[in-house]
């Protein structure tokens, strides 16, 4: 940087129109510009509400009267209704994680194999439910699974030789309804993730396996499934998080109160208490507890599957 002053000035004058562009395009700045939209939306729509939620969880909030109540909201959180909501949610998470990783994985392998005809058609039709809203789909499910003898589900049950089921009023069938609605809606999306990963597995591996005389099962077991590991971790992690945040699947069947709380989830409990019963502070406290639960479980999941070690391997 020892060039004479005039020369620099001239350079600057020449470059003036492009100065802004060159800053924007410099390797140091561009990454920040690209992440800015995310950072902005994260700070405004996630971080600020989250911090405010934590503050509210220590308050009793009424119009014009906000009162600091320390831990009183948290003392009330651990009540039978909360445990019921938590156990419902946990069962739901376990079931959806199993169903929404295994079935999409198998479907993706099937749709990727050469034996299947009309692949594009099947891919499209499996994906279509993801385009519907849970509420719209749920309304149809609610009619299909009505307790009337004439409902579609009960007609099928009759064909199998059983009596009509009061779908929305038994604990087991309530869980079944929520899980099947979520599965119907999300399987297509997860199939896409698995398909993307499957198509990135190099065909040379399979050729080499053929030369070594591996059969179809061995190829699946030793090539396909290990290569699907990263995507399996991803899918199971988002399924766990979405499972704990589940609300619509319960709301569409029972709105805010279900018989014996069979459909109560943690988030519907937040909604019921915070908004339905105008107890925002208590609702926020449940939300904070839920956030901690999701954080811990996701952490355990990621450590157990070795995600944090990947770089050092």
């Amino acid at each position: 940087m020892s060039s004479p002053a005039q020369e620099t000035d001239a350079m600057v004058r020449d470059k003036q129109p492009n100065k802004l562009m060159s800053i924007l395009n410099s390797k140091k700045v561009v990454p920040y510009i690209f992440v800015t939209p995310f950072i902005l939306s994260f700070v405004i729509l996630t971080l600020y509400p989250a911090i405010h939620g934590v503050i509210m969880s220590f308050q009793k909030i009424l119009p014009g009267q906000v009162e600091w109540v320390a831990f009183r909201n948290y003392e009330r959180v651990f009540n039978p209704n909360f445990y019921k909501a938590l156990s419902n949610t946990t069962i739901y998470v376990v079931l959806t994680v199993v169903i929404l990783t295994l079935i999409p994985m198998l479907l993706a392998i099937l749709l990727n194999s050469k034996a299947v005809k009309f692949k594009t058609f099947f891919r499209a039709s499996i994906f279509i439910p993801a385009l519907t809203s849970t509420i719209v789909g749920g309304m149809i499910f609610r009619l299909m699974f009505s307790e009337a003898d004439s409902s579609v589900a009960n007609q099928i049950v009759h064909l199998l030789g059983f009596d009509s089921v009061d779908w929305r009023y038994n604990a087991w069938s309530a869980m079944f309804l929520m899980v099947i609605l979520a599965s119907w809606r999300w399987i297509g999306v997860n199939v896409l993730y698995f398909l993307a990963q499957l198509q990135s597995i190099s065909s040379e591996l399979y050729e080499a396996a053929d030369i070594d005389g591996a059969n179809a099962w061995q190829k699946l077991r030793y090539i396909t499934i290990p290569h699907l590991k990263p995507i399996t971790i991803f899918v199971s992690t988002i399924t766990i998080i979405n499972g704990f945040r589940m609300f619509e699947e319960s709301f569409v069947f029972w709105e805010t109160s279900s018989p014996g709380n069979i459909g109560l989830t943690v988030v519907s409990y937040i909604y019921q208490q915070g908004i339905g019963q105008n107890d925002m502070g208590f609702g926020s406290a449940i939300g904070v507890v839920l956030m901690l639960i999701i954080f811990v479980i996701s952490l355990i999941n990621l450590i157990a599957t070795g995600t944090f070690k990947r770089g050092d391997e």
Partner: protein, 445 residues
């Protein structure tokens, strides 16, 4: 090259921002329907009105047109917005909590109303308009929206609970409905219905307690809370009443659980139109459910007062309802209050509650007026005696007692009590009500 990069960048930014603004698939804040009256008037004061029943808008748009003719010096521009039930109450709660974004006038459902009477009340008292007419009105319906002597909302109807009988089934069973005076008579009649026809007498709901439990305890001067706000959900009257509801299903076997969990459900409408049951206990506003959802029943339905618990006992209870209130966020609160009283509380307003909406108006001095007695679709459907019967029961209607914990009581009742006693018969009414009351008491501390 550089230009294309910039365009790409701006494009990405636009997409992200649009996605932020767009929200989820069903979380949009748009009203389902917006109606504007008086748009062409100069200097008109804008009044926004939120409701969750599109039909209610007719009352106000009619009133706004008359108002603008009669009051050229203070014209109004009425903007009526209809939202789904949950969404409207949530939006209002958030607007009131945050002190901005609320409407000038709003319909609030009775069960939700206690939420808006907490903290510093953000609704305007309507005493100057309510007090002069109280002598000619069913006062208990105004008390429902009052706190500390202030009346915060105007009721839409009396909501007198009555019994709707299917006369065809009753004739087939050989029952004279005018001889049913007490609940014991009702059970006896029910046994005849079950014996002589393919229908049951009645249905008990599990998700809508204002169609059975609540009116039946209210007519015995009981409630979930007493007038001092003490929880009396598990008192002996209430236990006996719930026992009666359990007995009609499992002991006398004259009733069954309402299909769909309540008598306001698609499942129930089909079932009742198909002669599934012989009677429905419901407030008078249930008439519109017949017109809209069970039109085949025209001419087959007779309306009678509720059976009493003893000879001479009370034969009705006021149930359900919507209070219309003016919020303190109104641009001109005095004008909004004056217009609201004009639309809903004046003699003409009350007459319109019946002629436009088919509700039993809270002011009984209008019940015998010519306009109210004139032919309309409700008389065609249910016969002429509706208001004669109302005059008979008008003094039987008790005030309901609300506290900030009322929503919890209702939620406990629908979630646990009916499940254990009505649907599955696994608890005695005493156990179930005590358990529910304890759960609510824990919340009240």
């Amino acid at each position: 090259m550089k230009k294309s990069l910039l365009i790409l960048l701006l494009g990405v930014l636009a997409v992200v921002l649009a996605a932020c603004g767009g929200g989820g698939d069903d979380a949009s804040g748009e009203a389902e329907e917006v109606e504007v009256i008086g748009e062409d008037l100069e200097d008109a004061t804008e009044l926004t009105f939120w409701t969750f029943v599109g039909q209610h808008v007719d009352l106000y748009s009619d009133a706004a047109e008359r108002w603008n003719e009669e009051n050229p010096d203070k014209p109004i521009k009425l903007v009526a917005e209809t939202y789904p039930f949950e969404q409207m109450h949530n939006n209002l709660l958030l607007a009131i909590q945050s002190g901005q974004g609320g409407p000038d006038m709003v319909d609030i459902e009775l069960g939700q109303f206690p939420n808006y009477l907490q903290g510093d009340i953000q609704l305007e008292p309507m005493n100057e308009y309510v007090e002069p007419v109280l002598d000619n009105a069913v006062t208990s319906r105004f008390e429902n929206y009052a706190k500390d002597g202030n009346y915060y909302a105007l009721p839409t109807h009396v909501g007198a609970t009555v019994m709707f009988y299917n006369t065809e089934i009753m004739d087939e069973a050989g029952v004279d409905i005018d001889s049913i005076n007490t609940w014991d008579d009702f059970v006896e009649a029910g046994k005849q219905v079950v014996e002589n026809t393919d229908s049951v007498m009645w249905n008990v709901g599990t998700e809508d307690w204002l169609m059975d439990m609540w009116p039946m305890i209210s007519q015995q001067d009981s409630d979930a809370f007493d007038e001092n706000g003490e929880l009396i959900l598990d008192n002996q009257t209430n236990i006996d009443t719930l026992q009666f509801l359990q007995d009609v299903i499992y002991e006398h076997e004259i009733a069954e659980v309402a299909p769909g969990g309540m008598n306001q459900s698609e499942e129930f409408y089909g079932y009742f139109s198909d002669d599934g049951a012989a009677s429905i206990l419901a407030p008078l506003w249930y008439m519109s459910r017949f017109l809209d959802s069970m039109p085949d029943m025209e001419g087959k339905i007779a309306i009678r007062p509720m059976p009493a618990w003893e000879e001479g006992g009370k034969r009705s209870a006021g149930m359900g309802g919507t209070g219309t209130a003016v919020t303190n966020q109104a641009e001109d609160t005095e004008l909004a209050k004056e217009f609201l009283a004009y639309a809903k509380l004046s003699e003409e307003g009350n007459t319109n509650l019946w002629t436009v909406l088919g509700f039993d108006p809270p002011r009984w001095d209008t019940w015998e007026s010519e306009e109210v007695q004139a032919d309309n679709k409700y008389y065609d459907f249910f016969g002429d005696g509706i208001f004669d019967m109302l005059l008979e029961v008008r003094d039987d209607i008790n005030t309901l007692h609300f506290t900030e914990n009322t929503p919890e009581v209702i939620s406990e009742f629908h979630t646990n009590v009916t499940q254990e006693t009505i649907r599955s018969n696994t608890s005695t009414p005493e156990e179930a009500l005590k358990k529910a009351a304890d759960a609510v008491r824990a919340e009240m501390e």
